[in-house]
């Protein structure tokens, strides 16, 4: 019987961002954190926290992200010992696909494994390009290239808006990348499951793509009063409890 391998793709929510180990925080940061909730998270609510959000802090928490995010939790539920988590904060669906190909994973270096690839597809508005031989991702309002994409490329006649951004054209881009990954998985005889990060684009996705490998019901818990305990007051992402719930929701879909 083949050993199992779980490959996961996605953005910060797949990287495990939000599973903070507060023993790595300074006293000053801990004091400031007391004033914050997941609705009004520490990172992003005022400029002073920029000095706390350092590479050093991220580095100290990487292992927590890795061991407490949804990929690790899902692997446990699936009885899978080996995980390759490709989740990368701020990345786009196109950038994630490019990274997968750049690593030559499409050539199936895991032929001896029974592979399942789970993709928590990020918001579709992000784009990517090769710049300086690296895959650069551009989020909403993050860069002049994205601003021009928003201004010049995507249709503004659309009635389908999310926070003022038309959803349908970017979703068609994401469907293209979904189809690429589905093709690779079929070729390599891997199981493939894709989930949307938000419900916002899943209905547009389903309008244009009928594949059973896309599960349109969002697995992320809603950020409301009942679920505040699942979210981090540090950054507003899910915390380890939240990611456990995501893994359970994914598993219930995958096993059926």
């Amino acid at each position: 019987m083949k050993k199992k391998l779980l490959i996961t793709m996605g953005c910060s929510h797949t990287e495990g961002y939000g599973c903070w180990d507060e023993t790595t925080f300074s006293d000053e940061m801990l004091l400031k954190l007391k004033k914050h909730t997941p609705i009004n998270p520490f990172f992003g609510s005022d400029n002073s926290n920029i000095k706390f959000h350092t590479n050093e802090l991220i580095s100290k928490n990487k292992n927590n992200f890795k061991t407490k995010g949804w990929p690790a939790n899902l692997a446990k539920l699936m009885g899978t010992a080996d995980i390759l988590n490709l989740g990368k904060g701020a990345s786009s669906n196109s950038g994630q696909t490019k990274e997968f190909f750049k690593r030559n994973l499409h050539k199936n270096p895991y032929a001896e494994y029974d592979v399942t690839l789970v993709w928590l597809m990020t918001e579709p508005f992000r784009i990517s390009f090769y710049v300086n031989r690296k895959i650069e991702n551009y989020m909403i309002d993050s860069h002049p290239i994205w601003k021009e994409y928003f201004k010049e490329i995507i249709s503004h006649h659309s009635k389908d808006m999310f926070n003022g951004i038309p959803v349908e054209d970017p979703t068609l881009e994401s469907i293209f990348y979904f189809n690429i990954m589905e093709t690779v998985c079929i070729k390599n005889n891997w199981k493939f499951h894709a989930f949307p990060l938000t419900n916002v684009f899943s209905k547009y996705f389903r309008k244009h793509e009928s594949s059973d490998n896309f599960h349109e019901n969002c697995v992320m818990p809603l950020l409301d009063d009942n679920n505040l305990k699942l979210y981090s007051h540090v950054c507003g992402h899910l915390n380890e409890m939240g990611y456990q719930q995501v893994a359970k929701s994914m598993y219930s879909v995958i096993k059926s």
């Binding site: 300086n132 881009e173 093709t183």
Partner: protein
């Protein structure tokens, strides 16, 4: 034994631009500036007389589906292939894809529900911004463009391996750029063992350049015939298993128009028709 299907991918050179029917033109201008009815007549002529049907006959294939579209990018061509053919069952066919790779500087995005391609000459502000960023780097900016292209080439390679299709890649641009691609991406699907651009060599000779309208720069029908012969000779030399007995006539289709989900860009050419090429 399965019937043989040739699918061709590429830009204007694959669409067959240059094969004008001068007698049916009210003025000597680029097809895009002709009245709509005349544009359609000209484009149908392109599709019939371009290299894909000629190569299909020489290779002895039963059918040609030409996905070539003027102005399209490598990424746009791959998107189009996925939109139209990823769910299509071609298991009854022995499929060969010949991809005449477009100039690598073009990019594509969905706009108004349609694949839209952007060329450097479009002066689109996003494109200009992108070029500005890659030109600021310390590296050769061509490499960034080529890496985008290589990503899309790998996708079609995967698709072909997944479906059991044969694939041949050859550039529509100068060999120097193709050498760079080959140094960045090793592939068994290149038409030639050594970097060579058959189209570029033919264009450079200047003998078969279309000059109606003046300065068009694509090939004439005779030029496409020579290009198809050059392709055939290279396939026979390097990939002889893909060659059958030549045919006198073949069935062909042009299917290069993008899917228009919202009917915002009505294109009569979008209606696929099947015809015979003798």
């Amino acid at each position: 034994m399965k019937k043989k299907l040739l699918i061709t991918m590429g830009c204007s050179y694959t669409e067959g631009v240059g094969c004008y029917d001068v007698d049916k033109m009210s003025k000597s201008v680029h097809y895009g500036f002709l009245p709509r009815e005349e544009e359609i007549i000209q484009r149908k002529n392109f599709h019939k007389l371009g290299w894909p049907n000629r190569l299909g006959k020489k290779l002895g294939y039963d059918k040609v589906i030409n996905l070539g579209l003027g102005g399209s990018s490598t990424s746009g061509q791959v998107k189009q292939f996925f939109e139209k053919h990823v769910d299509r069952d071609l298991s009854e066919w022995d499929v060969l894809i010949v991809w005449l790779l477009s100039e690598p500087s073009r990019i594509s995005f969905y706009k108004n529900g349609c694949i839209e391609n952007f060329c450097p000459s479009d002066s689109n502000t996003m494109y200009v911004e992108y070029l500005k960023w890659i030109n600021q780097t310390n590296y050769d900016p061509d490499v960034d463009l080529l890496l985008e292209n290589i990503f899309h080439i790998k996708i079609i390679e995967q698709l072909c391996e997944s479906r059991g299709y044969s694939l041949l890649l050859t550039p529509a641009y100068e060999p120097e750029l193709f050498i760079k691609i080959q140094s960045l991406h090793k592939s068994k699907y290149y038409l030639n063992k050594t970097p060579k651009s058959l189209l570029h060599s033919l264009m450079k000779s200047g003998n078969y350049k279309c000059n109606i309208p003046k300065g068009d720069g694509h090939l004439t029908p005779d030029g496409y015939e020579i290009f198809a012969s050059d392709l055939y000779n290279e396939i026979k030399l390097n990939h002889p298993h893909l060659v059958s007995t030549p045919k006198n006539k073949i069935i062909w289709q042009w299917d290069g128009a993008p899917i228009d989900r919202y009917g915002k860009f009505p294109m009569i050419l979008n209606q696929i028709h099947t015809d015979i090429f003798k």
